[in-house]
Amino acid sequence: MALEIEVTIADKQAVKVLLAGSLDSQTSPDLERELAHRVSEDTRTLAIDMSNLAFISSAGLRIIFKNLKTLKRQGGKLSVSGMSPSIRKVFEIVKVMPDLTVFADEAEMDEYLSAIQERYREA
């Protein structure tokens, strides 16, 4: 199964990515390239919506870990939304849930992103 990557917000501080399909050993290089291009030293929030993501393996987790570490170093956060129970189980096994900001769905995450962007504008 292929991976579809749609970037819906990409400004100086925030990047939002919608994933659909399968994030596995064959497709993870696509996400790695996309995020390497989008996430800069100014990025403080990376938001990933997984509502249409059917599958994730350790290759996909590695890309998310790598970006999470980068963001933490920069004082930023990585948010996820729309995790299916199967995908959530994979994240729980590797004990990464405490490091993530988790939203039930994309709407909840959008609300958070709007608030963050408003705060950046005011600053």
Partner: protein
């Protein structure tokens, strides 16, 4: 539908995952366990590509999917270099992500998503049998 599929490690996984999905459906395995099986297969093949390469010869692997009452058995075979995935420490420490390495997650997922893993090297082949109890949520 055959219970076994064989292919070169260079071939796309899409075909084998589609075959396995159909096979699991026929065996009455639900979507949650089917997802776990897909993760296990992806991790096995990723390890094969990383650790199993011994020469430029064609590297062949096979998967057999068998149901025995409430047990599902995934039998992996490959002709790569000997690699025992069951003898590695796969524990995850409790440190935050900033202090942890990003690798080594594949073997952990195989272990945690299944109930037993038995490895042996026989007749020039890696043989890994992974069993999942279908009646128990892990």
């Amino acid at each position: 539908m055959s219970s076994r599929i064989e292919l070169d490690v260079q071939q796309s996984l899409d075909g084998v995952l589609a075959w396995m999905t159909g096979r699991l459906h026929l065996l009455g395995v639900g979507p949650s366990h089917a997802h776990d099986c897909k993760v296990i297969v992806d991790e096995y093949v990723a390890n094969l590509s990383t650790h199993g390469r011994v020469s430029k010869k064609s590297q062949i692997w096979s998967l057999e999917v068998v149901r025995d009452n409430d047990d599902l058995l995934l039998r992996f075979r490959d002709n790569g270099g000997a690699f025992d995935p069951t003898c590695h420490d796969v524990s995850v420490d409790e440190k935050g992500i900033a202090d942890r390495p990003v690798g080594g997650l594949g073997l952990l997922l195989i272990k945690e998503l299944s109930d037993t893993q038995v490895y042996r090297y026989r007749d020039g082949q890696n043989c890994l049998d992974v069993k999942i109890h279908l009646t128990r949520e892990k």
